[in-house]
């Protein structure tokens, strides 16, 4: 179970620039893994391939023991909706929706927004946003927006969280807050967290650090 990637290659453009040159990586269920490396080393590329959002040029990927090639488009979308949460550096909230509506957006895919409303409010309380449920994203600070985005990633109680430099745009106080959240959900909910980060201190908080250089994992 968990994520199993075998001999992943990724080429971009023609003539092909090989960004990932054969990645073998196993991530256990409930593990907190950080991915780090130089800018342009292929961290984001690997993260999105592991999440099945971007197809690999070559290699095999298994999620929860299932080869993604064996899954239909429909199954893949359902898996993404129910089992995965994404957190990005720029916290992509839907600007027309209030904070709580943003958090509940993924539940609309399965029309479970009413069933999940209490959980959404609990998450907002937990992240110190109890008085900001009805605020539009434009009325929130960057740190608050990122916490709303994390609450949205967690609303479906996913097994996997993929985060691409989630603290990259935050000051240290807000960055620390985000890391505390990841640490806690990893420990308490046994959620698998895969996080790309530049920050060595934050990388050190993970159970394991994966370092990428020249398209390969170096130990």
């Amino acid at each position: 179970m968990g994520i199993d990637a075998r001999n992943i290659h990724k080429f971009f453009g023609t003539p092909g620039q090989e960004v990932l040159k054969g990645i073998d990586l196993h991530i256990d269920e409930g593990e907190f893994v950080s991915i780090n490396g130089r800018s342009g080393s292929g961290k984001s590329t690997l993260l999105y391939i592991l999440s099945s959002l971007d197809p690999a040029s070559a290699g095999e990927l298994e999620l929860d023991g299932k080869n993604i090639h064996a899954m239909s488009d429909e199954q893949l979308h359902r898996f993404r909706n129910e089992k995965m949460g994404f957190v990005f550096q720029f916290h992509y909230l839907l600007p027309e929706l209030t904070a709580i509506e943003n958090v509940l957006m993924p539940t609309r895919k399965t029309k479970s927004e009413n069933a999940r409303r209490t959980r959404a409010i609990d998450l907002m309380n937990e992240f110190g946003l109890s008085d900001k449920l009805k605020r539009l994203p434009g009325e929130l600070s960057g740190g608050e927006q990122q916490r709303v985005a994390i609450a949205r990633a967690l609303i479906m109680e996913p097994s996997y969280i993929f985060a691409d430099e989630p603290t990259g745009n935050l000051d240290s106080i807000n960055g620390d807050l985000v890391m505390q959240i990841f640490r806690r959900i990893s420990r308490e909910q046994k959620t698998t967290v895969i996080m790309v980060t530049h920050d060595p201190d934050y990388a050190a908080l993970a159970d394991r650090s994966v370092h990428i250089a020249d398209g390969r994992i170096v130990v």
Binding site: D73, E74, Q89, F90, L94, P95
Partner: protein
């Protein structure tokens, strides 16, 4: 996706109202233009139908040929060879077998009523003034059932002329030109014998100049006497239970008769070609208006899709499919179409009501002095279908494009 689609529309109220306004104007214009044009056409058709029966049977004016006299002179056998062929035109046209027609018409269930007539060219005279006019000899009670002549006569009806007795009702203009008055006598002559004196019992005004200036109604027997052709008729006017059957019935009759049989729509073909022209103009105008509205929707949605690229990326990462994303934008197009269409129809209806109060005088003398506007439900259904159809088509292209966006490209380009 409706939830997000509506939220996005409400977040841009002015833009949304602007686009809806465009569709609304197009729809309202379609309703108004169609209402006025169809109203006018319907009005004119009713006039045409009511004024002159649905089918017109008339005697053919026949030229005499070398065989024309064989039947009368030699009982159909060719016994002589003419040195000089008989030639010329028959003295007057007549329907050869009126009783055959009467039997046929009496027994055809599609026929509501018919009126045999004799049309006679005469010179109407009063004092030193003489004007050429056409006398229509009718059985007034029958004629009343075929046409609506009575609605053009004030303080009286056609049957006031009776079955005989040299009484007439004539066009108002003709009466004025003759300087005649009701209850005075005028003389009518055909050039075939002595002139006869007729008493004016009333006048009619149809609004059609040619008729008001040149037609005199007389009793059938009186007109036949005037023409010295007792018991002959030249025309039969037929009214059907169902007007739309007119062409069918007329074609059927024409097949076994040498008389001239035409339905009202064949007789008024020039009017119908004007109608066709109007319909073409109506469609071109409405389509160009809707095209502008649809182009507006297309443009706005293209802009929205470009602005919402980031959101498309995030929605896809939440597990929404490309189809879900397409729907998000298509729904916005549908909202433009439905709201623009519904309000456009309502405003178009209001505009029609307003146009209906517009006074245009009473050109046809029918007591209807304002613009006739059609409220045919079909106009409104068409308008709605056009508005919604145009928006769906206009929304389809950008929506499809949005659904095909690759989420990873979006996320990477911004992250």
């Amino acid at each position: 996706m409706w939830f997000l689609a509506l939220k996005q529309l409400l977040a841009r109220k002015r833009q949304t109202l602007f686009v809806i306004g465009g569709v609304l104007l197009g729809t309202a214009a379609y309703v108004l233009i169609s209402g006025i044009m169809l109203g006018f056409q319907g009005y004119l058709i009713t006039k045409l139908i009511d004024n002159d029966g649905h089918i017109h049977i008339a005697a053919k004016e026949e030229n005499i040929t070398r065989y024309s006299l064989d039947e009368a002179l030699f009982g159909g056998q060719v016994l002589v060879d003419w040195k000089k062929f008989p030639s010329g035109r028959r003295d007057h046209a007549k329907i050869e077998h009126p009783s055959g027609w009467f039997e046929l018409l009496d027994n055809d269930p599609r026929v509501l009523a018919y009126s045999p007539q004799i049309n006679v060219q005469t010179l109407a005279q009063r004092g030193v003034i003489s004007i050429s006019a056409r006398v229509v000899g009718v059985d007034p009670t029958k004629q009343e059932r075929v046409t609506n002549i009575n609605s053009y006569i004030q303080n009286g009806r056609l049957s006031d002329i009776g079955k005989a007795g040299n009484r007439i009702i004539l066009g108002k203009q003709l009466m004025l030109k003759l300087g005649a008055n009701v209850n005075e006598n005028i003389t009518l002559s055909t050039g075939k014998g002595a002139a006869l004196s007729f008493r004016v019992v009333n006048y009619f005004e149809t609004g059609t100049r040619a008729v008001d200036q040149g037609v005199i109604y007389a009793a059938l027997a009186d007109a036949q006497k005037l023409n010295r052709t007792p018991s002959q008729i030249t025309d039969i006017s037929v009214k059907l239970a169902d007007v739309t059957e007119a062409k069918n019935v007329a074609n059927g009759y024409a097949r076994f008769s040498t008389d001239y049989v035409q339905s009202w729509d064949e007789e008024n073909q020039s009017v119908f070609s004007v109608f066709r022209m109007q319909t073409a103009i109506r469609y071109i105008m409405s389509l160009s208006i809707l095209l502008v509205a649809a182009f507006g929707i297309y443009n706005i949605l293209n802009v929205i899709v470009t602005q919402k690229r980031k959101e498309v990326g995030i929605l896809r990462s939440m597990g929404f499919t490309g189809q879900d994303v397409s729907r998000l934008f298509l729904y916005q197009g549908i909202v433009f179409g439905v709201f623009g269409g519904v309000f456009g129809v309502i405003i178009g209806y209001g505009a029609c009501r307003l146009a209906g109060t517009y006074q245009i005088g009473d050109p046809l003398g029918t007591g209807i002095s304002s613009l006739v506007v059609s409220y045919d439900i079909q106009i409104y259904l068409n308008a709605l279908a056009l508005a919604i159809g145009a928006s769906v088509v206009a929304g389809w292209v950008p929506a499809r494009g949005a659904g095909k966006l690759n989420p990873i490209d979006i996320i990477r380009s911004d992250g």
